[in-house]
Subunit: 349 residues, 2 copies
DNA sequence: TTGAAAGCGGTACCAC
DNA sequence: GTGGTACCGCTTTCAA
């Protein structure tokens, strides 16, 4: 019933625990072949499993990292987590997943807990909160991490400083709006996210400057609030249908809302893309399953996770400098939810 | 740069580390109010964060659990993980997520790693593999867990024994087939999952016995292989369209394949439900976003995770007996992808 | 009420 | 080549 420890192995093999440690860790220190064999055999026979906890205590490295996300059920985060996990596994790291629902208190609490477990690093997958007080608190908590030699990488803009792997959110939206404009649309509604997220602000500002760049007026009533979830997309559809002057195109700031909007418009008897062109951002799997398939800006979500984790590892071995940033490319995926204004495609119904 | 330890706090508060430990852990052992205050103050001032690793070593409890899933990007597992995580957080547990892609070697490797980290328990979220050798190996690995006092709960049938929280997979399919039959369908195709999973076998056997119970012939050509992923649903649609005698209904053994099939059928010019009724299993979020919304058997995925985690905790405090099983209810969700054979609904097109 | 000391299971430095 | 031993940072008897 008692755990078998390195001592038991040493006894069984008739060697010191030092030697056991050496052979089991492939230490460069010389060990005779026969001793090595005896140790291996003993460890095997006793079914010895070295305590990673004990190892972590003395080596000051846990080989555990934490990833803080909004919600594992959101495909956006699920994809990122998968990217993180795959790289982590290949490098012998374990990952603790923390759902914060973007609640600052929960995020902060997780941060402290992860610190007490002495994780080797933390990845912030979600958009940063634009709350000053929160930003300071996180920054302070991160201080503890850095002091220990632990590292941090963010996959979105944050108020605190850290190594980052990003997409250019502002440009993503600019490109999306530009595409819609190139189709002839001049009245483009925008479904925004929660105001307190940096990502939301960047995307919104992309929308605004794209309109401005094309000399289009910014109509406040065309900016509809959402929360990046499916249901808010449906509500947005209602809001759009209630508009006295309906837009000819709608850009949802993420696919989940875009899909909700698609369903909402359909239920309201509005045809996409004949009556309204609709487009999203992210390119989650569902985007191609809906009818019509959703045009969207594909973000490299999996890569954000995998490259984020790779960066974390390099950061630890000082192959990478702190507080730098990497920006990954996005790309337009044209499907059938968007059509040129006044063309055959848009007219047929 | 050096970590502040309990010793530093003790020095600063002018007490022994024993006392520090006592007040910081709310020990029942008496400590004078002023001493307590001094300790608290010192800990605060030093920004002391007790090492959960050191605590774990001596208390022999890590408050970390592992959950082994197929793929975090699959809504099925994402939902379960969310259920696990929510309960874990409320109880002060951390959860390590392990993606195995159902590869036995990866699963086994994770199991050993988790054991070396002395996790308090493991949750198997996915269906068991029907491989004898694999079953034995897992059983053996679990032995190590049990010997340590760690626990295990499975959310599906497995060859090894463990506490389980289940759905009655055979009955789920029976109920689905029964519903289709009640709509007048007599020729029902079935999209199955990977043969090596217990879940697949149970569901398939539900399909077979449902047909038999209704005196319907079992036509092998109507059983189409899939792997529970979206793409295999699309391939299944092709296979179905190529059938000399097309079925009037299709039951996909999960929603992801059901949705893939829906898209595939649409592309092949086949109308759902007018030409073919289609139904899935799971009730993932996307099921209601596709057109037509998918009729499905809703499984309590979130509850599987949350109740699984609650059971794990109770198991550890011996409030629950090992190796028992809990079965959760499923329910039919009728949406518009299914229609009665020969009715107005099925005829209009 | 308070504290000294024996571990928990390893690693790594230093001798031999 | 091999082994002794001082920690890593905490909890928990056992005494005082």
């Amino acid at each position: 019933m008692d755990m078998v420890s390195i001592i038991d192995v040493a006894k069984k093999a008739n060697v010191s625990i030092t030697t056991v440690s050496r052979v089991l860790n492939g230490s460069p220190h010389p060990v005779s072949e026969e001793t090595r064999a005896r140790v291996l055999e003993a460890a095997e026979a006793l079914n010895f499993s070295p305590s990673a906890l004990a190892q972590a205590m003395v080596t000051r490295a846990t080989r555990i990292i934490g990833v803080i996300i909004g919600d594992a059920m959101d495909p956006y985060f699920a994809t990122i987590v998968r990217g993180v996990e795959d790289v982590a596994r290949r490098h012998g790291y374990l990952v603790i997943v923390c759902n914060s629902d973007r609640v600052p208190e929960i995020e902060l609490q997780y941060l402290h807990t992860l610190d007490s477990y002495r994780v080797d690093g933390v990845i912030f997958a979600g958009g940063g909160l634009t709350d000053d007080k929160y930003g300071r608190q996180v920054g302070q908590a991160l201080e503890a991490f850095y002091n220990r030699g632990a590292v941090c990488v963010s996959l979105a803009k944050h108020l605190f400083s850290s190594f980052s792997v990003l997409v250019d959110n502002e440009q993503v939206v600019k490109d999306a709006v530009h595409y819609l404009i190139s189709l002839g649309h001049r009245s483009i509604a925008y479904i925004s996210g929660p105001a307190l997220l940096t990502t939301t602000q960047l995307r919104l500002s992309g929308y605004k400057s794209a309109l401005e760049a094309h000399g289009l007026p910014l109509k406040p009533e065309l900016i509809i609030d959402g929360d990046y979830k499916y249901e808010s997309g449906r509500r947005a559809a209602e809001a759009i249908m209630a508009l006295p002057a309906k837009p000819t195109a709608v850009l949802a700031s993420n696919d989940l809302m875009g899909i909700g909007c698609l369903v909402g418009l359909r239920e309201a008897g509005c045809h996409v893309p004949q009556d309204i062109s609709l487009m999203g951002i992210d390119d989650i799997a569902t985007a191609q399953a809906v009818d019509p398939p959703l045009t969207t800006m594909a973000l490299p979500l999996y890569d954000l996770g995998s490259i984020g984790m790779e960066s974390l590892i390099k950061l630890r071995s000082h192959e990478l400098a702190d507080h730098e940033a990497l920006t990954l490319a996005h790309r337009l995926i044209i499907r059938r939810s968007t059509a040129a204004l006044g063309t055959e495609e848009a007219m047929k119904r």
